[in-house]
């Protein structure tokens, strides 16, 4: 039990919170090597995977207070007032996480600007069906009925692109 606790402690001390939190190696795992080399290997492998475009990417974007998991060709419906109009092409900049099948880039809290590009097109702006808000309190002579239609904007995600320069310094330019 004590040994297990010690190991746990050791693992806590050794773990380095990098941008690459998890990497499932399909290749042989690099063991008994210094941590720096492993990090470099992992980064270069990720860059290679991105360059090859071997798998579809997905991202978690923050949009009007909600987090959406998006990939190419997705449809989103955003509720409430939102200025973009139909036909507009926009870039979703608040990317919390970007990933492919074999690796994930986790932002703290956002992935560095310029690394991931999520583009979308506004397809439709309309009103939802009429929602009925019915309130009643029994034996209190209280009854209210309200009708409400919220604005709905439909988005088509066009692309989720990751640049193959994971370890380069952020430019912080939008």
């Amino acid at each position: 039990m004590i040994r297990a606790g010690l190991q746990r402690l050791a693992s806590v001390f050794n773990s380095q919170g990098g941008i690459i939190s998890r990497f499932i190696t399909q290749n042989a795992p690099a063991q008994h090597r210094p941590a720096e080399e492993t990090t470099k290997d992992v980064i270069s492998t990720c860059n290679k995977l991105i360059q090859e475009k071997s798998h579809r990417n997905f991202a978690i974007v923050h949009l009007l207070g909600k987090q959406w998991r998006v990939t190419d060709g997705d449809l989103l419906v955003v509720e409430g007032y939102w200025p973009p109009n139909i036909g507009d092409k926009i870039t979703l900049d608040k990317v919390l996480l970007a990933a492919s099948k074999d690796f994930s880039l986790i932002g703290r809290p956002l992935v560095q600007p310029g690394l991931v590009t999520v583009t979308a097109t506004i397809i439709s702006k309309g009103l939802s069906h009429t929602k009925t808000h019915f309130k009643k309190k029994r034996r209190k002579q209280f009854m209210r009925i309200n009708f409400q239609r919220s604005q709905q904007t439909m988005l088509r995600i066009n692309s989720v692109d990751i640049k193959n320069s994971i370890n380069s310094a952020p430019k912080n330019v939008f």
Binding site: T71, L76, K101, I123, G126, L127
Partner: protein, 185 residues
């Protein structure tokens, strides 16, 4: 809530003809303004026709605009969409600005979107890319070949550390660091 509405259809998020994947196509195809030339109920729509209709038609060359004057009947607007939907809306006693806003709504929506309750607010063809999580995700495959019951896998390691254990670990750590200092000399 409105979910209990018997006659309201429910629907999932869809876009006709993969709209927006390559280019965007305005879904409104035809709009018919029906109004009376003399009645007061058509006042707003007459104002709209006089002031805004030409600009509307110029800005939306893909939309066919019809005007249908009819005597002593209340005004209405009918919009027809690429997916075959037809939306009828009464414009009786509506003011000019209200009509401008409603026609903007008719122009920007894709079909009769308010005729159905959305069950989901997102649609994706690829629900999982890294594979759905299972209890065995990220687990050591050693478990596959282990002979159970095994004290290694059967150990209850979920109970929190007791104070005694914490103290002993601190003691052990101290001892290790002392040894390190010694070896450093």
């Amino acid at each position: 809530m409105s979910n209990s509405n018997l006659f309201l259809k429910s629907a999932f998020v869809r876009a006709p003809l993969q709209n927006g994947v390559g280019r965007y196509v305005c879904q409104l195809q035809r709009i018919v303004l029906k109004f009376c030339k003399s009645h007061g109920g058509s006042r707003g729509i007459r104002d709209f026709i006089e002031q805004d209709l030409v600009n509307f038609a110029k800005q939306n060359p893909s939309v066919v605009v019809y005007l249908k004057p009819r005597r002593h009947r209340s005004p209405a607007v009918v919009a027809e969409y690429l997916n075959g939907d037809r939306v009828w809306m009464s414009m009786h006693l509506k003011t000019h600005s209200e009509i401008t806003k409603w026609i903007e709504v008719l122009r920007t929506q894709q079909g009769d979107v308010s005729g159905a309750r959305l069950r989901k607010y997102q649609y994706t063809d690829h629900p999982s890319l890294q594979g759905p999580w299972t209890p065995f995700t990220f687990k050591d495959p050693e478990l596959n070949v282990a002979q159970l019951p095994d004290p290694k896998f059967g150990a209850n390691n979920r109970i929190p550390m007791s104070a005694t254990e914490k103290l002993r670990i601190m003691f052990e750590k101290q001892k290790i660091s002392d040894e390190e200092v010694k070896t450093g000399e």
